[in-house]
């Protein structure tokens, strides 16, 4: 079943993401359209920004999820793990409106020729945005398919000319108790931290995201800038990034620090390595009743397996 003669993203442009996907894909929003549905509820959910904002212009659209159905804007923006805004799935949509995303700058430091604070507009080339449809697999065994807008992470990182000592990249989420009510509870050791090996970070599938469904990304999904690493569990895809650090030593992510027996540095989607709390063999795609089989590297093995040649993935989970 996995043998492909043609990669799914070799489809011609007009075949990818037909407008129907945006407006009418899910029964829940049938007859409404995303914007209209959102407009009704937006005062409660902090979606105003997404609705008022203009559409991004993208230079290309690529579907990395085959013929799998997109999840609705409502599903993606009301069911979130973003503990800085509360630990229940509906908390971020309720609370994240207090996050101030303009102006936004990112502090770049460590093993690179160019370092310092850089404004979001200078970090991301908004004239080179692409749309990519990726599968998203949470370690809690649910998954979605989402249309992200962004630029390859490599394009962002190369701006700083990382030196040969830059073996890893460490990212940090903003941690401001005034903007993020969840920080009052020390669920994790804030600020939220994640990291990648430099070759993982430079891999063409690693994506720095600023948009969702063609619009600026809502706060609860990690505005104004987040990582998306589609072959890893979702918690690796860190949100609302304020710091990028190139370093020689392997960074320790917040979840790994909290419980290293359960959350490893790599955290590649792997149906053969169970999490102590969850079997990872299967997953529930949001919107479906029956669980589906989880794919090795979330279905991106053809592209990323070579990053881990010779590594014991049971040990390096």
């Amino acid at each position: 079943m996995l043998i492909k003669t043609k990669k799914p993203w070799d489809l011609s442009e007009n075949e990818v993401t037909p407008e129907a996907l945006y407006l009418n894909r899910r029964k829940i929003i049938q007859g409404f359209g995303v914007a209209a549905a959102a407009a009704v509820i937006s005062p409660f959910l902090g979606w105003q920004k997404a609705i008022a904002a203009p559409d991004f212009t993208v230079i290309k659209k690529t579907n990395y999820a085959g013929d799998e159905e997109l999840n609705s804007y409502k599903d993606i923006t009301t069911y979130n793990n973003y503990y800085e805004f509360g630990t229940s799935k509906s908390d971020p949509a309720r609370n994240a409106h207090t996050l101030i995303t303009e102006p936004w700058s990112v502090k770049v430091s460590g093993e690179a020729e160019k370092t310092g604070s850089i404004a979001l507009e200078d970090l991301i080339d908004f004239n080179a945005l692409e749309e990519r449809i990726y599968r998203h697999r949470c370690v809690e065994t649910w998954s979605m398919v989402m249309p992200w807008v962004g630029v390859p992470l490599a394009a962002v990182l190369k701006k700083f000319n990382p030196t040969s000592n830059a073996k890893f990249v460490r990212f940090e989420t903003i941690a401001d108790p005034k903007q993020m009510p969840g920080l009052r509870s020390r669920v994790l050791d804030w600020p939220y931290t994640e990291g990648l090996r430099i070759d993982e970070a430079m891999h063409p599938l690693s994506f720095m995201v600023v948009g969702l469904y063609g619009k600026p990304i809502p706060n609860q999904n990690g505005a104004p800038i987040r990582l998306v690493v589609p072959w890893k569990y979702g918690f690796k895809s860190i949100k609302s990034i304020v710091s990028i650090r190139f370093q020689e030593t392997q960074p320790v992510g917040s979840w790994e620090e909290n419980n290293s027996r359960e959350y490893g540095f790599y955290s590649n989607v792997n149906p053969d390595v169970d999490h102590p709390r969850w079997s990872q063999k299967r997953e529930r795609r949001i919107g479906e009743f029956f669980k589906r089989k989880t794919l090795m590297f979330n279905g991106y093995g053809e592209e990323v397996a070579s990053l881990y040649t010779g590594m014991d993935l049971q040990k390096n989970f």
Binding site: K27, D75, T78, K89, E140, W255, R277, W278, R284, G287
Partner: protein
């Protein structure tokens, strides 16, 4: 007592809305959107688990409250609260078996053996079965008060296990499960205190006589 059916009624009402929305039936559109999140199955499991635990602790709170406030009529409600707790536990387990795993017994058995929090949950449920079964007056007579009481002392094991089940399920360092564990500690601790109080009183009475 009938108030204990409210969480379940709310859940069923929202499932009706969810089914109406999901299948685009349009019968209930005017009533609004369901509140079960984009993942109603996970939401349902957790909702039922939360309420099962709350009612278990409520049943455990009856005896100390009745004694502290000298309000013995309260004890009359203990059995109903316990039975409601058992009902929520059973529906919680059914929702895991039917909605979450859809009768995949291999996976379920694997979970019970490998996932510590599910192991504890299953032990708690198993210990509750004889309690629920022998809850009638007839069974008290048949077994005799002594044996019957011993069976029902299982709640002192179930309450810590059930709150540990929740604690181990929650990711990260969350506050809520700790609150439940704290309540269980207080409700069990207070019994130890009562026990020693009674013992001293009895000793004093003996000494006075």
């Amino acid at each position: 007592m009938i108030g204990m059916a409210l969480p379940l009624s709310w859940l069923l009402y929202n499932w009706a809305l969810a089914v109406d929305e999901g299948f685009n039936l349009g019968y209930l559109t005017s009533l609004g959107f369901h509140q079960l999140t984009a993942n109603p199955i996970e939401y349902t499991n957790r909702f039922l688990g939360d309420w099962a635990l709350r009612f278990l602790l409520a049943s455990l709170a009856v005896t100390p409250l009745a004694r502290i406030f000298k309000f013995n009529q309260l004890v009359a409600y203990r059995r109903m609260i316990g039975l409601w707790a058992f009902a929520y536990v059973s529906i919680h387990l059914s929702s895991y078996i039917v909605l979450d795993q859809f009768f995949d017994w291999g996976e379920i058995w694997g979970d019970i053996l490998k996932r510590n929090f599910i192991t504890l949950g299953m032990i708690s449920f198993t210990l509750l079965i004889p309690m629920a079964f022998t809850s009638t007056k007839g069974w008290i007579k048949r077994l005799g008060a002594k044996v019957w009481k011993r069976i029902h002392k299982a709640i002192y094991v179930v309450a810590p296990l059930a709150s540990a089940h929740y604690f181990m399920m929650a990711k990260g360092n969350q506050l809520d499960p700790k609150i439940y564990i704290g309540i269980v500690a207080v409700l069990l601790g207070i019994r130890v205190w009562f026990y020693y109080q009674d013992k001293t009183k009895a000793a004093n009475r003996k000494a006075a006589a």
